[in-house]
């Protein structure tokens, strides 16, 4: 370095550049994260082999169950102090809970939230798991694709059923709502038609069961048609403001409408002709 004063200066200058500290932090974080990703135990491979569908569905489902569910629900799905038994809940319940990411539950809150799926939870793996739980004691099965096809439903009839049975918790467009003790009715927008059907058939968490004698499969399909139609509809009146009704409308009236008008009034009165005093 000695003798090349120029380069030392430029290195020093770069080192003291205001962005240099961020670059160092970013580099350190990147190394740390990358290093961990390489060194971390790769749990995916065993599950992937199971999920590849070589063995019998139920047998694979059982090993998935032992790996991901048994710590709370017990080795034979008999339940524990932490979680209920899964004997008799049916394939529909497993498919709903696991495909929405609610199970395996992350922590013991008032309600398990929808979350991104684990890497192991491929459609095949979920199907195997569902087959295993179904084999334990029956229960509602997963609906066929044709049973949840919105195109085959009547949205108008479904809307009436939806208003009569769902909106008191899920809100008039399925935007969700509050329940007691920290529980809530989740928004229906991320739910697939199959998940909506399964939720009605199995009554997950705080939701009641709407079995086939309460709401027939055809009526369920009508409701699915209504829900998917309304949520995909472009709001004709401009921004939907979250579609939760007058609360956001009132906020917009005050924060946007009144603020703009007050700014206008300040601007108008600030404009003064120079008086010849």
């Amino acid at each position: 370095m000695i003798g090349t004063g120029n380069s030392v200066n430029s290195i020093t200058a770069r080192r003291r550049h205001p962005l240099a500290r961020y670059a160092v932090v970013a580099l350190a974080l990147g190394l740390l994260g990358g290093g961990y990703a390489v060194a971390a135990p790769g749990g995916g491979s065993a599950d992937a082999a199971i999920a590849s569908g070589k063995a019998d569905d139920v047998a694979q489902g059982k090993s998935l169950f032992v790996a991901h569910c048994a710590s709370c629900h017990g080795l034979n799905a008999e339940g524990s102090a932490k979680a209920p038994t899964l004997v008799g809940v049916g394939a529909a319940a497993v498919d709903f809970q696991v495909s929405t990411g609610r199970m395996p539950a992350a922590d013991a809150g008032p309600q398990a939230p929808r979350k991104p799926l684990g890497e192991w939870a491929t459609p095949q793996a979920i199907s195997d798991l569902a087959a295993y739980v179904q084999s334990l004691g029956g229960g509602p099965t997963r609906p066929a694709a044709e049973q949840v096809d919105p195109a085959k439903g009547d949205p108008a009839k479904g809307g009436e059923l939806f208003r009569a049975n769902c909106i008191q918790c899920h809100n008039f467009v399925g935007a969700g709502g509050a329940l007691t003790y920290g529980k809530y009715a989740p928004p229906l927008n991320p739910a697939t038609p199959t998940q909506i059907y399964e939720a009605m058939a199995t009554g997950p968490q705080a939701m009641p069961v709407f079995n086939d004698s309460t709401i027939t499969p055809d009526q369920k399909r009508d409701m699915i048609a209504y829900i998917t139609h309304v949520r995909s509809q472009v709001d004709p009146g401009g921004s939907g403001l979250g579609r939760i009704g007058p609360v956001t409308e009132g906020l917009v009236a005050w924060i946007v409408g009144l603020s703009l008008l007050i700014l206008a009034s300040i601007w108008i009165t600030a404009k003064k002709r120079r008086t010849h005093a």
Partner: protein
């Protein structure tokens, strides 16, 4: 005189000879209006009202105020074949099949929100500046009446489309009416024409909404404006402004141009909202049936405080002489409304009673200069605000992941604590601002010039406040205090001998005592005003 074109001169002479507007106009076109941005807040409400009249008329051309059952066959697919009232079907028709109907409907609704929001901020301005004082008490009462009527107008208006959300509001209205002791049932049957919901309420609300209340509103608004015109507008204290004059711009051309521009601004903002922000999407709510209710059912914002009080109220019910009295409905419906509206209506008279002030006032108080009034106002805002906020407690709970019951329990304490805290905080802020004012007058303002004195000390040069700022500050008016002290013989004056009299005297003293009198002239310390700061010898006054 400059020559008037013959065509105009002829017509104007004709009119002048018969109706005589020339004299009237000559007097009134030069009417002076003081200039301050807060004086335009009431105009937001006024111009919104004009928009409401225009768009409302348009809507009546297609709206059918009938509860007769029809099967929908319009262009909104998810409701085709659904049974609904004619009112709801025609409101859907306006939204989807009448050209421009949805836009006009949305403009009407946004204008309604801004109408009431405008009235509220206008009323707060009048309150905090003491512009309701003699001789304007009657106009203040008209204003309180206007606000009450506007709430009713809003309630009847959002019930008209007969959608599921408005039905929830209607059901609460029915519940409150039923809750009124003795006559509740009769009143309910009178309004609904039978068992709820009956077949009459929409057409009755329609008449109330488009004829009765707008007529009264129009009359009261005219009276409000005429009184304002006759009594002249209050003005902020400042240079050359006294109780006997009004300083500002003449109505024609200056104020008229500004008011015209502000009309267009109001139209513009409301049209923007109506175009880009969806409001009251009745097609999403569905038709009203008393069996259905949606999560997140809220009224429009101005009814939110009543919704909040209903949600906070514990389920109390008593049985009195074999009559059930539903306190859980009566108290939240009547008490907050009573406190807010009655409090507003009586305030000018209570203040007069406390201060014994019978003088006319044409100069506005700056809010800081009457700290108790400002604190009471903020206390009221806090009371209203807590109720308003808790009216949306389910949305708060769902969106911010707070337990629903916790919001209710918080609200039950907050409704008593927050107004008290707001009172103290607002009072302290007022006193602090008054101190700042006093400091500006006595010490001047910082000039940004730092000087070094011969012995090495640094001082910042203060210059006297600019004339207009100083005059604005000096406009602080004394609040009178009624005579309460013992007279020479040790006997209190007649009025102050009763318990009420003693209370009045105490209140008057607290209300009127000026804790931060303004001190004129030169300061007492290092940072005294020392002129323009260009004396090279660093000469200081006051030393």
């Amino acid at each position: 005189m400059d020559t008037t074109p013959k065509a105009i001169a002829g017509v104007s002479t004709f009119l002048d000879d018969r109706i005589g507007p020339g004299n009237f106009l000559k007097r009134n076109l030069r009417k002076i209006f003081p200039d301050h941005w807060s004086f335009l807040l009431g105009e937001i409400a006024l111009y919104s009202f004009i928009i409401l009249l225009l768009t409302g008329t348009f809507l009546t051309f297609w709206f059918k105020p009938s509860m007769g059952e029809v099967v929908y066959s319009g262009s909104y697919q998810p409701l085709v074949g659904v049974k609904m009232s004619e009112a709801y079907a025609s409101a859907l028709n306006i939204s989807f099949d009448v050209r421009g109907g949805l836009l006009i409907r949305q403009i009407h609704h946004w204008a309604a929100l801004l109408f009431i929001a405008g009235m509220m901020v206008h009323m707060l301005r009048v309150f905090f500046t003491g512009a309701y004082r003699k001789p304007r008490e009657l106009n203040w009462l008209i204003g309180v009446g206007l606000l009450t009527l506007a709430l009713l107008e809003g309630l009847t208006g959002y019930s008209l489309p007969d959608d599921l959300l408005s039905g929830a509001g209607l059901r609460i209205t029915e519940g409150v009416m039923l809750g009124i002791p003795v006559v509740g049932t009769y009143l309910t049957f009178l309004l609904f024409g039978g068992e709820y919901p009956g077949h009459d309420v929409i057409s009755r609300f329609f008449t109330i909404h488009i004829l009765l209340i707008p007529g009264i509103l129009l009359a009261l608004i005219s009276a409000h404006l005429v009184l304002m015109w006759v009594q002249k507008h209050t003005q902020m204290p400042g240079t050359g402004r006294t109780e006997k004059n009004v300083v500002g711009a003449p109505f024609y051309p200056t104020f008229m141009a500004k008011a015209g521009a502000f009309t267009l601004f109001t139209f513009g903002v409301i049209a923007l909202l109506g175009t880009f922000a969806q409001i009251n999407p009745i097609w999403l709510f569905g038709p009203y049936t008393p069996a259905d209710i949606s999560a997140g059912s809220q009224p429009d914002f101005y009814m939110g405080f009543l919704e909040g009080s209903l949600r906070l109220m514990p389920a109390w019910e008593i049985n009195f002489l074999d009559h059930t009295v539903s306190l859980s409905v009566l108290i939240p419906a009547l008490v907050p409304l009573g406190i807010v509206m009655t409090g507003l209506a009586l305030y000018p008279f209570i203040e007069q009673w406390v201060t014994g002030d019978r003088r006319e006032h044409h100069t506005a108080d700056r809010p800081r200069n009457n700290p108790h009034r400002t604190a009471i106002g903020f206390s009221g805002i806090a009371f209203y605000g807590v109720l308003w906020l808790l009216g949306a407690n389910d949305e708060i709970s769902a969106n911010f992941h707070i337990s629903l019951y916790e919001t209710t329990i918080f609200g039950r304490f907050a409704i008593f604590l927050v107004p008290a805290i707001a009172y103290v905080v607002a009072y302290r802020i007022c006193i602090g601002l008054q101190r700042k004012d006093a400091e500006v007058l006595s010490h001047g303002v910082e000039s940004g010039v730092i000087k070094r004195l011969p012995h090495g000390e640094y001082i910042e040069v203060h210059t006297p406040a600019a004339q207009d700022i100083a005059d604005h500050i000096r406009g602080k008016a004394e609040i009178p205090i009624i005579e309460s002290g013992v007279d020479g013989e040790g006997i209190p004056p007649k009025g102050a001998r009763t318990a009420l009299g003693r209370l009045r005297a105490k209140a008057s003293e607290a209300y009127g005592t000026d804790h931060v009198p303004l001190e004129e002239g030169h300061g007492h310390d290092e940072h005294a005003a020392i002129g323009a700061g260009d004396h090279s010898d660093g000469h200081r006054d006051g030393h």
